[in-house]
């Protein structure tokens, strides 16, 4: 059984538990860093949009219906689902497909609700006699633990992220424009195999947060923040790094090391049976003990991390009080990124996998306050 067959089997198991006769997985061609994409997960094909569905009956082969027509050849090339159909009129051909598969009276689960406006939701529900049930959580839970393919892809993506960062250190110099640096580093990672990238990079003498790149030319004394998040075959990773242009001060080193220590303390609690909230509270405890408790909440930070994945982004955001329990094999980025009044905002973060001993970083080298002198 290959990985795609196993994925089918996992989803069918979840369907059986929930008493579903079929799943309808919907995608509108919009992609988000922290939202799963079950069509890509199940088929290996990334739809362009504006509409694509996979219909997965409990006991017969799935079908992929997609637009636009000119993307058919790529779909046939990439998709592990054999039955690939083109929709010129999506609503009409979707309804026809449901009838052909004999699913009008089926008990159906529908995913992709966050991508469905009222019209699309109505169109996807209309062919069924019973109103489809919301099934995003079902898919999230069933696929929360990463399979071998996801883990191998995230390792490859992490390698690309670290090489991209090394390339950034190589070309970084005062006078460079933020947007040009992003162009260079992004292209480098694309050439290594990144099929997308949630890449934010900006610099200031006292950062309030990382943001999209501007025209600004870098100066000595800047701290460059880089949130580097390439994906390979749809599987994202993320590393969070900070670089000083010039010699870092002792205060910078001390405060950055505080966040690294907080990250390591939190990661120890990223193990099966512990809650996400426990790991977050450990980060906040270390930061607060140094006198920065005020800065452990928004707007001085956002979250302490979040899940990443094609089939699931469980455990979602790592936030204070989160009751989500870690399971072995979950994947997420753990990042105590935050503002420190003496130095400004720092980025510190690693992609980690939940293991018995705690979160295992996938990076070859964890965050360190780098410098270009």
């Amino acid at each position: 059984m290959d990985v795609y067959e196993r994925r089918l089997s996992v989803l069918r198991g979840a369907m059986a538990t929930a008493g579903l006769d079929a799943l309808v997985l919907y995608n509108d061609g919009r992609y988000h860093f922290t939202e799963m994409d079950p069509i890509y997960y199940l088929s290996g094909f990334k739809p362009l949009g504006p509409h694509a569905v996979v219909v997965l009956p409990k006991d017969s082969d799935p079908c992929l219906l997609l637009m636009p027509a000119w993307d058919r050849q790529r779909a046939l090339h990439r998709s592990r689902i054999q039955d690939v159909r083109i929709a010129h009129d999506f609503g009409r051909e979707y309804a026809r497909l449901i009838i052909e598969m004999g699913l009008q009276r089926a008990r159906v689960g529908l995913t992709g609700l966050s991508r469905q406006n009222r019209a699309i939701h109505g169109l996807l529900s209309q062919p069924f006699e019973q109103r489809p049930l919301a099934a995003d959580a079902l898919v999230e839970e069933a696929t929360a633990v990463k399979d071998d393919l996801e883990l191998s892809l995230v390792e490859k993506a992490t390698e690309i992220a670290e090489r991209g960062y090394a390339y950034l250190l190589e070309i970084l110099r005062p006078g460079a424009r933020e947007c040009a640096l992003v162009g260079e580093v992004d292209a480098y990672m694309r050439s290594l195999g990144a099929d997308d990238n949630f890449l934010l990079m900006s610099a200031s003498q006292h950062n309030l947060a990382v943001h999209a790149p501007t025209d600004r030319r870098l100066e000595w004394g800047d701290i460059l923040l880089a949130e580097i998040s390439p994906s390979v075959a749809g599987q994202f990773t993320q590393i969070c790094r900070s670089v000083v242009l010039g010699r870092p001060t002792e205060v910078m080193r001390e405060k950055y090391d505080l966040l690294v220590q907080a990250m390591l303390a939190g990661m120890k609690h990223c193990r099966p049976g512990e809650t996400a909230g426990r790991a977050v509270s450990e980060v906040d405890r270390v930061v607060s003990a140094a006198g920065y408790g005020k800065y452990t909440v928004p707007p001085y930070m956002r979250t302490r991390g979040h899940g990443m994945g094609l089939g699931s982004v469980a455990p979602g955001n790592l936030a204070a009080g989160s009751g989500f329990v870690f399971q072995k094999g979950m994947l997420f980025v753990f990042h105590p990124n935050q503002y420190i009044p003496e130095t400004g905002y720092f980025l510190v973060g690693e992609p980690i996998v939940v293991e018995e001993e705690g979160g295992r970083p996938l990076t070859g080298r964890i965050a360190h306050l780098d410098s270009v002198e």
């Binding site: 027509a69 009222r118 947007c179 162009g183 943001h211 025209d215 001085y300």
Partner: protein, 377 residues
């Protein structure tokens, strides 16, 4: 053209006050407020974000990176932007991207909109909305509308789109710059390919050139792994399909332009025919012309053998703050062209199994034949 959307627009993101000074937005807002007043509406609520930002950018200059941004524009009083739900870390940067002073986060979209309306003294009455039906998922729609139950909500998406359709001078300038960057990107691709690189390497070269030249976003389709179809870049490859055929779309300061490149192409019969078809479209695309006639002009010129592929990839359409605006150039369209519309005209010719030829132009509609916004690099 449908392209593969990235999770984040990762290029240059600024409010360029040379290109778009505050007075430009004052004029735009004045026009929209006039339309609201005429309809007895006391405010406008626009929902958008991420991929669907046209109305938000038109009014505020902000091109949001993330989902869920709201603009509240009262007929009288200061506008406000809700730049997300919860958090607030991004607020200082968002403030640098817009002339609107009141930028905030809200516990939920519905709560935030209702609160701003009350702060502006609008407790009841007709309120215009845009983006609600198209952008809001069902649960969020119910939440938002639930919090606005004391108002009569009037959808004005079509009216806003009609205002945006006729481009202002500064908008044309931004589109011309987007077109110039697309040309630079295309040149980089052609040069990489000319040096013996693969089609995939040409795509990466185009993206690099576009972002380093100031593109906020760049999308490329190319005959990457098969000769006769345009695909998005998904992985490195050593495949060389000759000729290189690439579609490059660039967003600069919110505005899109696209360009097609076929290299080498000059001298081929397909290329000559595609250029003739494009010229026929330019000639036909003038104020008051039927969109169907623009399509018909191209299809007559290229002949029946190329009709299927040309229509499959599309003949182009409106372009501006979105890559795909109305009208779509289609032989079945019943729409008319208006002065100062901007169109992407496009022709993709070929037969199954053979490399396609792709040509395009970015034009402004006027009284005579459409004029190109593109200048040779």
């Amino acid at each position: 053209m449908q392209t593969l959307q990235p999770v984040l627009r990762r290029g240059r993101s600024v409010w360029n006050q040379v290109t778009f000074p505050s007075d430009e937005f004052q004029e735009r807002v004045r026009g929209v407020r006039g339309m609201l007043s005429d309809g007895g509406m006391r405010a406008l609520l626009v929902v958008g974000g991420g991929e669907r930002y046209q109305d938000i950018a038109y009014l505020t200059n902000l091109v949001p990176l993330m989902p869920w941004t709201v603009v509240v524009l009262p007929v009288e009083g200061e506008p406000a932007i809700i730049a997300g739900i919860g958090g607030g870390r991004e607020i200082p940067f968002v403030r640098t991207c817009t002339w609107v002073a009141d930028v905030r986060v809200a516990p939920s979209l519905g709560v935030g909109m209702a609160q701003i309306l009350r702060e502006r003294g609008i407790e009841a009455g007709r309120v215009a909305v845009a983006g609600f039906e198209e952008h809001l998922p069902v649960a969020l729609y119910d939440e938002v509308v639930g919090h606005l139950s004391g108002y009569e909500l009037v959808a004005i998406d079509d009216r806003l789109a009609a205002i945006r359709r006729r481009k202002r001078a500064r908008e044309l300038g931004a589109m011309a710059e987007a077109g110039r960057i697309a040309q630079l990107a295309g040149l980089a691709a052609v040069q990489a390919f000319g040096r013996g690189g693969s089609n995939a390497e040409a795509v990466v070269a185009a993206e690099r050139a576009a972002r380093t030249a100031g593109a906020h976003d760049v999308r490329v389709l190319c005959n990457l792994e098969v000769a006769d179809a345009l695909w998005p870049y998904e992985a490195p490859s050593t495949v060389r399909n000759v000729p290189l055929c690439a579609y490059i779309a660039v967003e600069y300061e919110g505005y899109w332009a696209d360009r097609a490149f076929t290299s080498p192409a000059v001298g081929s019969e397909h290329y000559r025919r595609a250029c003739s078809g494009l010229a026929a479209m330019r000639e036909a695309a003038r104020e008051g012309a039927r969109v169907a006639d623009v399509a018909g002009a191209a299809l007559r010129e290229i002949g029946d053998e190329h009709r299927q592929m040309a229509l499959a990839y599309g003949l182009g359409g409106g372009i501006g703050l979105s890559l795909d605006e109305a009208p779509r150039i289609d032989p079945e369209s019943d729409e008319l062209l208006e002065a100062s519309m901007t169109l992407s005209l496009r022709l993709c010719l070929g037969r199954p199994g053979e490399p396609p030829v792709l040509v395009s132009d970015l034009v402004r509609v006027g009284q005579g034949p459409a004029s190109s916004l593109l200048t040779p690099v």
